[in-house]
């Protein structure tokens, strides 16, 4: 029997993640230096892990409120107020989720009617476009460019805008480009959102990893709190990817709508992860800053190396990704990445995994040890030189 005929049409048509294909090739090889990861190389700081162990010992093994533990929501309130200059009520404006991924998914499910248009900038995190498709929305990519250091410009938004656009997804700093926007650029985006009456979903998961300047949350701009859902989590800054814990903050009516989806699909986030998250917010700042400083220095090194090698690379102002232009080799990003993997066993992710206009670029994660970065740089150098001789 052909069981595939049972699969819903929009799932059949949903493309597989480009990362998946590449993962299949890499996972079969040994001794690969992987710059292909999307997570910190650090394990979660011990005090956070220890807090979760203690919670388990104390018998914290039950459901929590659908919204999440009130202690955690209070901690989120303080953290967001202090670091993002916007204040959300713990009682009804904050929802604890299973990572930003769930927060984004339930936001789409709560807000998007079939056919509604959702704008997002590209290259971007792999799940934005498919998540929009899953709720039968229409995805409208807005390109960002290397010449702008992959910042999103209001001009690009205006050029891509279509009548009926309802939502705008932001991810600043951005995976995979490391691009972000300064305050003036964010203000221009906010002005555009007001003009076109867009609701903004702002995924600020990399905000703590901003190396130059100050991170500005669009939610903190005058008048924007009411038209923004602020999404954040613990994965990147606190090295907690496997805990799957994040949160959404926004107007009470929208949080209530998201909570409806959340309570029927997820109930609540894992209580252990919530307990760990409290510890991270209350006592994790020093450890987080230490990790950020290390990423900062590694970024400076790897970006300099790419440029020395001849792969033009802008300085990513945030995140732990470099996004070098590999087109100078005469190869497209996929052939370059596969060739590099086969010849030198270094994995970088082809930029098109993050959308069509990642074409010509590869993503290199620098959240790895100096030894690995130095060796990877030398191998990439050798590979690029051997390509030039051909």
């Amino acid at each position: 029997m052909d069981s595939s005929r049972y699969i819903a049409k929009h799932i059949v048509n949903l493309p597989k993640s480009g990362i998946r294909d590449f993962f299949e090739i890499v996972s079969k090889m040994k001794d690969v230096i992987s710059l292909g990861i999307g997570e910190p190389d650090f394990d979660t700081p011990w005090h956070i892990r220890e807090a979760a162990i203690y919670a388990l010992e104390k018998g914290k093994t039950h459901y929590t409120s659908n919204l999440g533990l009130i202690e955690l929501r209070r901690a989120i309130h303080h953290y967001v107020e202090k670091n993002f200059s916007v204040s959300y009520r713990p009682e009804d404006e904050i929802l604890v989720t299973v990572g930003v991924s769930e927060a984004l998914d339930i936001a789409f499910r709560a807000l998007v009617n079939p056919g509604d248009k959702v704008m997002f900038h590209q290259p971007c995190y792999v799940s934005y476009s498919p998540s929009i498709t899953l709720v039968h929305g229409e995805a409208i990519p807005v390109p960002t460019y290397a010449k702008d250091n992959f910042a999103l410009t209001a001009a690009a938004l205006r050029a891509a805008w279509q009548p009926g656009a309802k939502l705008l997804v932001l991810n600043l700093p951005c995976n995979p480009t490391g691009g972000t926007c300064d305050r003036a650029q964010i203000e221009a985006i906010a002005k555009f959102a007001v003009e076109k009456d867009l609701l903004v979903l702002s995924d600020e998961i990399y905000s703590e990893l901003t190396f130059e300047g100050v991170h500005t949350s669009i939610a903190s701009l005058p008048g924007m709190k009411d038209r923004t859902i602020f999404l954040h989590g613990f994965s990147k800054a606190f090295a907690m990817t496997g805990w799957r814990i994040g949160y959404a903050c926004g107007p009470a009516a929208l949080i209530e709508a998201m909570m409806k989806v959340h309570q029927y699909s997820m109930m609540c986030a894992s209580i252990l992860s919530q307990e760990a998250a409290i510890e991270a917010l209350v006592r994790g700042e020093d450890g987080m800053k230490k990790m950020r400083d290390q990423y900062h220095r590694r970024r400076d090194f790897i970006v300099r190396r790419f440029n020395e090698i001849g792969l033009k690379c802008h300085l990513p102002r945030g995140s732990f990704y470099a996004f070098p232009d590999v087109s100078v080799t005469g190869l497209n990003e996929k052939d370059f990445a596969v060739g590099l993997l086969q010849a030198e066993k270094v994995a970088m992710v082809p930029g098109t995994a993050f959308g069509a206009n990642g074409s010509g670029f590869c993503r290199a994660c620098f959240a790895t040890s100096y030894e690995q970065l130095i060796e990877a740089g030398n191998r990439i150098d050798r590979h690029v030189q051997s390509l030039a001789k051909k």
């Binding site: 990362i19 890499v26 996972s27 292909g36 997570e39 799940s127 090194f301 994995a347 030894e371």
Partner: protein, 160 residues
């Protein structure tokens, strides 16, 4: 903190060529800076960190709390330096609280450490008392966890 010092602390066991690459200096310049740090006594040296439980030689280690009489003019320093010069002494610190010096001692056997304490340390003029604690087992050494297998946690090689 100088960039080279930061990198030494962070990078673990990078060699001069690797340090040079990260700092964008010549290898000669890296060596010059290292020499300078040594001359300034900022960088005291490099030593391997061993798991002594695996060493056949069987090193015995003790921590000794020492009470001493401070001297007019010199305070604790003269005597502390004198104690520090013994080969058996690994480290020596002036402490606040119930005693004055905390002395870390290595010896080939229990007897040798005991002999050092009773014959050398406690007989020094100015030493009022000693309390010797033998170390039974190390769990963490200079930042390295012992007896914990550092199994590579299963990590995916490519993730979004």
């Amino acid at each position: 903190m100088k960039p080279i010092v930061k990198l030494l602390l962070e990078g673990g066991s990078l060699n001069a060529a690797q340090l040079a690459q990260v700092l964008k200096l010549s290898e000669a310049e890296v060596n010059r800076q290292l020499d300078e740090l040594k001359a300034q006594r900022v960088l005291l040296g490099f030593r391997p960190v061993l798991n002594l439980a695996h060493e056949d030689s069987g090193v015995v280690r003790a921590v000794i709390e020492v009470r001493i009489t401070p001297e007019r003019g010199g305070g604790f320093n003269r005597l502390a330096e004198r104690i520090s010069r013994f080969d058996e002494v690994e480290s020596c610190f002036l402490m606040s609280g119930g005693y004055d010096l905390l002395v870390f001692v290595n010896g080939a056997s229990l007897q040798k450490v005991a002999a050092f304490v009773s014959e050398k340390l406690s007989t020094l003029e100015g030493v009022l008392s000693t309390a010797t604690h033998f170390m039974l087992r190390a769990y963490k050494e200079q930042g390295f966890m012992l007896e914990v297998k550092t199994e590579e946690a299963e990590r995916l090689k490519v993730t979004p």
